[in-house]
C-alpha cells in the first residue's frame, strides 16, 4: 500500500501526458505528479494515483479520464487511489511550474517561504501579470483547496498562488 518511488512504464508516458487536471487544464496529470504507478500486468494497466488534497473533487474525474485515455490507446486499466506517501508540491515538475505561471497561478515557494508569506505577510510571491513582488495576501484559501488568493499592489491584478503542501 505504501509506494515510495514513482514507477511508470515509459510506453505509457505519451498516453498519460494527454490527461489534464480538470481544474487546471494547462497542466497534465504527469506534470502535477499525481500518477505514482502505471505498469502493464497481464494486459491490464494498473494505475495508482494520489490526491493533491484529501477532498479534491477532481480525483474521480482524473481516474475516469485516465481510463478513457488508456482505452483509446488500446489498454484496459484499473485505478487505485493511494494516500501514502502524501502528495507534495515538490512533485510538480519544472515544466508544470512554468505552465502554472503562464496560466496565471503563482507556483509554490518552498515550505519556509510559504509560511512567511501566508503568516507574516512577507512579500515573496511574484505577480503572474507584471512580475512585481509587491503583492499581498487576500485570503489563505482560494478558488480550490490547493490555492490562496493574492493581489498585486503595483498592477492591481488579482491572482492565485499554489500553496506549498
Amino acid at each position: 500500500m505504501v509506494v515510495t518511488e514513482q514507477h511508470i512504464d515509459q510506453k505509457l508516458f505519451p498516453v498519460l501526458e494527454q490527461v489534464s487536471d480538470p481544474e487546471i487544464p494547462v497542466l497534465s496529470i504527469m506534470e502535477m505528479g499525481v500518477v505514482r504507478t502505471a505498469v502493464i500486468e497481464n494486459d491490464i494497466v494498473k494505475v495508482q494515483i494520489t490526491p493533491t488534497y484529501s477532498g479534491c473533487p477532481a480525483m474521480d474525474v482524473i481516474g475516469e479520464d485516465i481510463q478513457k485515455a488508456l482505452l483509446d490507446a488500446g489498454y484496459q486499466s484499473e485505478i487505485e487511489l493511494i494516500l501514502s506517501p502524501a502528495w507534495t508540491t515538490d512533485w510538480i515538475t519544472s515544466k508544470g511550474r512554468k505552465a502554472l505561471e503562464e496560466y496565471g497561478i503563482a507556483a509554490p515557494l518552498d515550505a519556509e517561504a510559504d509560511k512567511s508569506v501566508l503568516l507574516e505577510g512577507q512579500k515573496l510571491v511574484k505577480c503572474t501579470n507584471c512580475n512585481s513582488i509587491n503583492t499581498r495576501l487576500v485570503s489563505q484559501f482560494g478558488s480550490t483547496a490547493c490555492k490562496a488568493q493574492f493581489q498585486c499592489n503595483d498592477c492591481q491584478e488579482p491572482f492565485d498562488y499554489f500553496k506549498c503542501l
Partner: protein, 250 residues
C-alpha cells in the same frame, strides 16, 4: 478488537464530519466572499479526510455497510463526536473560535496518529496534517484579528471563547475502546496532549489580548453519544436526502 477499532475510527471521523457540516452551512452565507470560500474549503478538506476514515471503518467492520451508510444512516446517539464541533455557528467569532479550539487539538492529535502502527491510519494522518496546519493558521489568524481588533470584535471573540471553553476538556477524555486501541499502539493517548493543548491555546489567546477562561467545570458526553440539542437539527439537514429518498445517488 475489530469492534473497538471500528469505534475508535468513528471517534476520529465523526468530529470531522460534524465540523465539516457546520462549516458547510456557511456556503453562500459567509460574512465576506473570502471567508465564505475559506470555510467551505476547510469543510471540503474535512470531508475528504472523513471519506478515508469511513472507507476504512467500513472495511474493518465488514458487515456490508458502505462509507455512506456509516456517515449518513446512524441515529443521533450513535454519533460519537465531541460536543465542541456540533455547536452552532452563531456569529463569525463563534465559528472561528470553535475552529481554533478544534484545530489546535486536531494538529496535536494527527501529529501523534502519524506514528500509529496501523498503516492506513498513519497514512491518513500524514495526508491530513498538511491540510490541518493551514486550517490552524487561518483560525488562529482570525482569533488574533478579532481579539486584537475593535472593542466590539474583541468582545465578540471573548464571548465566543468563554462560551465554548466548557467543551474543550472532553477532547482529552478516553472511552473504553480508545484505551484498548491505545494499548495496541494504534491509537493516540489524548490524555498526554492536554498540557500542550492548553499551553498553545493560551499563548494565542494572550497574543490576541483575550483572557484565558478560568472555568473549572466542563461539559462531556459526546464520546458516549449523549449530545447537546444542536446535533439533532444538524443531522436532520445532513441526512435529509438519504432519509427521504433512501439509496439515492448523486
Amino acid at each position: 478488537m475489530k469492534t473497538d477499532l471500528y469505534k475508535y475510527i468513528l471517534g476520529i471521523a465523526d468530529n470531522s464530519l460534524i465540523l465539516g457540516q457546520r462549516l458547510g452551512e456557511l456556503c453562500g452565507h459567509g460574512p465576506s466572499l473570502e471567508t465564505d470560500i475559506a470555510c467551505t474549503n476547510i469543510s471540503l478538506d474535512l470531508f475528504g479526510q472523513v471519506r478515508s476514515y469511513y472507507q476504512y471503518a467500513a472495511k474493518i467492520i465488514g458487515d456490508g455497510r458502505s462509507e455512506d451508510d456509516i456517515a449518513m444512516l446512524r441515529k443521533e446517539r450513535e454519533y460519537v463526536n465531541v460536543l465542541l464541533v456540533e455547536q452552532p455557528n452563531r456569529d463569525f467569532a463563534y465559528t472561528m473560535a470553535r475552529q481554533f479550539l478544534f484545530d489546535v487539538y486536531h494538529l496535536l492529535f494527527l501529529n501523534e496518529l502519524q506514528k500509529s502502527k496501523d498503516e492506513t491510519l498513519s497514512a491518513i494522518a500524514k495526508k491530513s496534517i498538511k491540510e490541518v496546519s493551514y486550517h490552524q493558521r487561518f483560525s488562529s489568524d482570525w482569533v488574533k484579528r478579532l481579539g486584537d481588533g475593535t472593542a466590539e470584535s474583541h468582545q465578540k471573540m471573548q464571548n465566543a471563547i468563554d462560551g465554548l471553553w466548557t467543551y474543550t476538556d472532553e477532547l482529552f477524555h478516553q472511552t473504553e475502546a480508545d484505551k484498548i486501541i491505545v494499548s495496541e499502539g494504534i491509537g493516540v493517548d489524548v490524555t498526554v496532549l492536554k498540557a500542550a493543548y492548553y499551553t498553545a491555546v493560551s499563548k494565542i489567546l494572550t497574543e490576541s489580548t483575550l483572557k484565558v477562561p478560568e472555568l473549572k467545570w466542563f461539559q462531556k458526553g459526546g464520546k458516549q453519544g449523549i449530545h447537546t440539542e444542536h446535533l439533532g437539527y444538524l443531522l436532520s439537514d445532513l441526512q435529509y436526502m438519504q432519509r427521504t429518498y433512501p439509496n439515492m445517488k448523486w
